[in-house]
Each structure stands twice: as structure tokens, then as C-alpha cells.
């Protein structure tokens, strides 16, 4: 069964069709990318896939479960986790707390355990701290555990967002422009990082990215959006040579290339 299935979703803002008839089916272990010019509706797709916007038409299924009109936290519980284009860390909290906060939904003790600090509380807290530290360790952030999230350099903030998203143990990880604002050297790091998450942790990933080198080197399948419509879909090689895509990026008449 597919991890995520978006069945012809469409969203209107007023009269404007921001995303038109978007269709995707992601199998376990795949690495998808959505590309497209600015304003093509990529982030809007993400917002629909995480429940922040409700599609006007169409259905979304996570692991076969229908997610129509569910709230963002329910999407997260169903196994979808994301990062944001404009970083949204919990700035007033420490790096470790940021990751622990993502464990909230798999923290299995009740209000009573919290107030009286029973055995269950201590066991769960210990487990969460351990798991969080392991994740931080894996991404080389362990020694910064006590810094405020906003104190980290930009690149590490992006990294922490990915770590935080992974901490919810998602079935599908959505990355919204993981390489935005990074230098070429840092982009290589991001490529290595995403590859690691994908292969070593066997994480299914859907990402939005502008940086072509990054997308073409790691994505297995690509969807190209323009003005809210899907204009092409397929392997990197196929998409790269699709006249419609070339026209969208370089301008001009698609037929001229055909």
C-alpha cells in the first residue's frame, strides 16, 4: 500500500486555483521531489499534505487511511512530518527540547503520572531523552544540546528541523527547500544528509527544492509544477529532457524543442 496518496487534489483561494488536480502516489522507500518556478504552488501542496490547508476537491490518503478534513496534528500522527521553508524551530527552547517536543505524541503517560512523577513518568522521560540524544548524535548536534535553537548557525537550524521532523518517526518526511539559502559547499552536505536519511534510515521522502544539482542527483522521481498544474512527471532524466519543463524554466514555445 502506498504511504501517501493524493487523489486529484485541487485548492482555490477565492477565485484563484492555486493547485489544480494534483495527483501523487508515494511508495515506501521512494524519494520524490517537486520542482517548479516560484509561485507554482509547491508549498501549497505541502500545506495540503500536512492538513494546514484543506483541499477544495480531492482526497488524501496516508497508508490507506482517508485524511480529508483532518487537522495538522492528525496528519503528524498518521505519519507525515515536515520541515518549513522559513525555518520554524521552537526558538525559546533548547536544541534537545526541540527534539523532545517532537516526541510529545509518543509520550505515553497521563496527567496523573506527570503530577505525581510515577515510575511510568521516569521511564518514558528517560526513553525520550535517550532517543532524542541518539538522533542528535547521529547528525552531529549532540554537543549543542543546551543551546537555544535560534543560537545555532543557519545551516544547523535547517539540520535541526530535519532532526525534529525525524523524531516523530514519520512514514513520510516532507522537506520544504532543505537547501534554501545555502552555499555550494553546504549543499553538498545537504545532499549527503538527505541521502543518509533516505538510505540508512530507509526514510520515504518528498521534497521541494529549487537547486537542480541537488534534485537531479538524489531524487528518484520528480514532479514539475507550473501555475498549480502538473506539467511533467518521471525520472530525473525524463524530466530534464521534457520540452514542457524546459519551456517552463527557460521560457519559449514548448513545440519548438519537440
Amino acid at each position: 500500500m502506498s504511504v501517501l496518496k493524493a487523489d486529484h487534489i485541487t485548492i482555490n483561494f477565492g477565485g484563484l486555483v492555486a493547485v489544480d488536480d494534483f495527483d501523487i502516489e508515494i511508495e515506501k522507500g521512494e524519494l520524490w521531489a517537486i520542482i517548479g518556478p516560484n509561485g507554482a504552488g509547491k508549498t501549497t501542496v505541502f500545506n495540503m499534505l500536512t492538513g494546514i490547508y484543506y483541499p477544495t476537491k480531492g482526497e488524501i490518503y496516508v497508508d490507506g487511511e482517508k485524511m480529508t478534513a483532518k487537522k495538522p496534528f492528525e496528519f503528524a500522527r498518521a505519519g507525515i512530518s515536515r520541515t518549513f521553508q522559513n525555518i520554524r524551530l521552537f526558538g525559546g527552547s533548547s536544541v534537545l527540547d526541540n527534539v523532545k517536543m517532537a516526541h510529545t505524541m509518543d509520550c505515553h503517560y497521563g496527567y496523573k503520572d506527570m503530577v505525581f512523577r510515577g515510575k511510568k513518568y521516569h521511564a518514558e522521560e528517560e526513553r525520550i531523552t535517550k532517543e532524542s540524544m541518539e538522533l542528535l548524535d547521529l547528525f552531529g548536534l549532540a554537543d549543542k544540546r543546551d543551546y537555544f535553537a535560534t543560537q545555532l548557525p543557519y545551516g544547523e537550524q535547517r539540520k535541526l528541523e530535519i532532526v525534529r521532523a525525524l523524531a516523530t518517526k514519520p512514514k513520510l518526511l516532507l522537506l520544504d527547500e532543505p537547501a534554501a539559502g545555502m552555499s555550494p559547499g553546504e549543499i553538498d552536505e545537504v545532499i549527503a544528509l538527505i541521502n543518509r536519511v533516505h538510505t540508512e534510515m530507509n526514510q520515504t521522502i518528498l521534497m521541494i527544492e529549487h537547486h537542480m544539482k541537488l534534485v537531479m542527483s538524489i531524487a528518484q522521481k520528480i514532479k514539475v509544477l507550473e501555475f498549480g498544474r502538473t506539467i511533467s512527471e518521471g525520472t530525473p532524466e525524463y524530466v530534464q529532457n521534457d520540452p514542457l519543463v524546459i519551456a517552463a524554466y527557460l521560457g519559449g514555445d514548448p513545440d519548438a524543442h519537440a
Partner: protein
């Protein structure tokens, strides 16, 4: 019916006082998104200012409409300057902090000024009576009695509000104010002097509060340092009900709350104050942005 009309007149008068006061709340909120808990103190200061001007200059005698108007405007301008000063000292240093810090600072200002007025030997905590500024007489329209003071209060208030509306819509400084309330940073980039705009906003707010103080005290001539607290609360409610940040909303809210309060008082006086808050809660729950406000959204 006559009784109702009579109450309506009272309500309009009270409403115009609330509206003038609410404009100050709403302008300050619109520009720096701060709830100015010390705003009502300008009303109290305005009363005392006029009181001292009249007793020093005219020995507390009745002074006729034209001179009275002049004295009220002069006294209120002084309070306007006080407002500018308070903003400089107590709110400007906190501008880059969360807006609730400004509110806490305003609570501090309020504690300070009210107690300062109580402690100053020539003011003191005891009530004083506001001087009679003009000869009052009553006009009878059918069975409805309208006193001259009420007519003056309502007409002058409406005149001032129209003037303010004109200033905001048609002058350069008004345009700057609208720009700052839309987006402070963008306005600054466009060369608007933010500090000047905020100072002028506080001047107008404090000035209007002081004027409304004189109007209020002309009809209910008992002044004391804490006189403005309940008035301020109701005016604040009026501003919120109308849609905080919007001047037309403040005026509408002021009149609605004024009339509603008078009508409820005539039926169940114990609950009048609570009723205002009930109106507030109901409006906020069903139309949180107020009667005239625009809804706010956050971009993801």
C-alpha cells in the same frame, strides 16, 4: 416612548464620551499593537488640568462658552504633551519587546500616576467638584428634556471625530499613520518617521481623552484620582467591540456601549457594568475582529 428617548439622549452623551476615549485606545493599538492600560488616566489628568486652569485664571467663576472651549482645548493640549512624554519614557524603550511588556509598563504608569495624584498635597485622594464652566439650561422637546451641556458634548464630540477622520484620510501625517498601522517596518523603509508618528498618535489620544474628561465632568462633576478606571474599561470595551485598530469602529462601539449601558442601567443597574463585558465577550466569540475589524491570518 418619551422615557426611551430621554434615555437615548443620555446614552448618546455617554456614548460620545466613550467614543472619544475609545479612539485613543484604538489608535495606540492600531499603531503599536499595545493595550494602553494607562490611557484612562489622561481623562483624569485632563479634568484636573481644566480644574486648575479655571481656578487659577478665573477663580472658579463661570466663563462662558467661548472661553470655556479655549480653556478646555489648552488644558487638553497640555495633557496631550504629557501623553507624548509618557510614551517616550515608558513605552519607547520597550518597543522591540513583546507588546505585553508595554502593557505591563502601562500598568506601572497607571499605578504611578493615580497614586501620585493622590499623594500630591494640592490634589489629594478626596473627591473635588469640577467647576461649572457654562450656564446650563434645559430645552424641552415634548416630554424629553435636553440640557445645553449634553447638546454641546454630543455635537462637539462628533465635530472632533469628523475632524480627526478628515486629518487621517486627507493629510500627510494621516497617511503616515495609516502606513505605520499597516506595516511599521515597510513604512520606515519608505521614509516615514515612526517615532514622530507614534508621538503624534499619543498626543491625539491623550488630547481626546482629556477633552472627554472635561465633557464627562461637566455633567458628572465629581473628580478623584481613580475616577477614570471604570470609564476607561468601558471605553476599551467599546474600542474592542467596534474592532480595535479602526477609528470608525471605536466611534460606533462607543455609542453602542453608551446607549446599551444607559438602557440596561434603567432596567437592572446592578448588572450594567457586567453587561458591557458580556457584550464584549459575545462579540469577541462570534466576530473576534469586532464589528468593523478585518480578520487576521497567519501565512504558513
Amino acid at each position: 416612548m418619551d422615557n426611551f428617548l430621554q434615555l437615548l439622549i443620555y446614552g448618546l452623551q455617554l456614548g460620545s464620551i466613550y467614543a472619544l476615549l475609545a479612539i485613543g485606545y484604538t489608535m495606540v493599538f492600531g499603531i503599536i499593537r499595545m493595550i494602553n492600560m494607562a490611557h484612562c488616566d489622561f481623562l483624569m489628568m485632563g479634568c484636573y488640568m481644566v480644574y486648575f486652569l479655571v481656578s487659577v485664571l478665573f477663580g472658579g467663576e463661570m466663563i462662558g462658552p467661548a472661553v470655556a472651549l479655549l480653556v478646555v482645548m489648552a488644558g487638553s493640549s497640555v495633557i496631550g504633551m504629557v501623553g507624548v512624554g509618557i510614551e517616550r519614557v515608558a513605552y519607547r524603550p520597550l518597543r522591540n519587546r513583546p507588546t505585553i511588556m508595554c502593557m505591563i509598563s502601562a500598568i506601572g504608569v497607571s499605578i504611578f500616576t493615580q497614586n501620585l495624584f493622590r499623594a500630591l498635597p494640592f490634589i489629594g485622594p478626596n473627591p473635588r467638584s469640577f467647576p461649572k464652566l457654562i450656564e446650563d439650561f434645559t430645552i424641552n422637546v415634548g416630554a424629553v428634556k435636553i440640557s445645553f451641556t449634553r447638546i454641546v458634548t454630543v455635537t462637539l464630540s462628533i465635530f472632533i471625530m469628523l475632524l480627526l477622520w478628515f486629518v487621517i484620510q486627507n493629510t500627510k501625517i494621516g497617511m503616515h499613520m495609516r502606513a505605520v498601522s499597516n506595516d511599521k517596518d515597510a513604512a520606515a523603509l519608505m521614509g516615514v518617521n515612526i517615532n514622530r508618528v507614534i508621538s503624534i498618535t499619543f498626543f491625539i489620544g491623550a488630547f481626546l481623552a482629556a477633552v472627554s474628561g472635561s465633557f464627562y465632568a461637566s455633567s458628572y462633576p465629581v473628580m478623584q484620582p481613580t475616577m477614570a478606571v471604570t470609564l476607561g474599561n468601558k471605553a476599551f470595551i467599546a474600542a474592542v467591540c467596534g474592532g480595535i485598530g479602526d477609528i470608525r469602529g471605536a466611534v460606533l462601539g462607543g455609542f453602542v456601549i453608551g446607549v446599551a449601558e444607559i438602557l440596561v442601567t434603567s432596567v437592572w443597574s446592578e448588572f450594567a457594568y457586567g453587561f458591557c463585558f458580556l457584550v464584549l465577550v459575545v462579540i469577541l466569540l462570534f466576530k473576534p475582529e469586532g464589528l468593523l475589524g478585518k480578520p487576521m491570518t497567519e501565512k504558513v
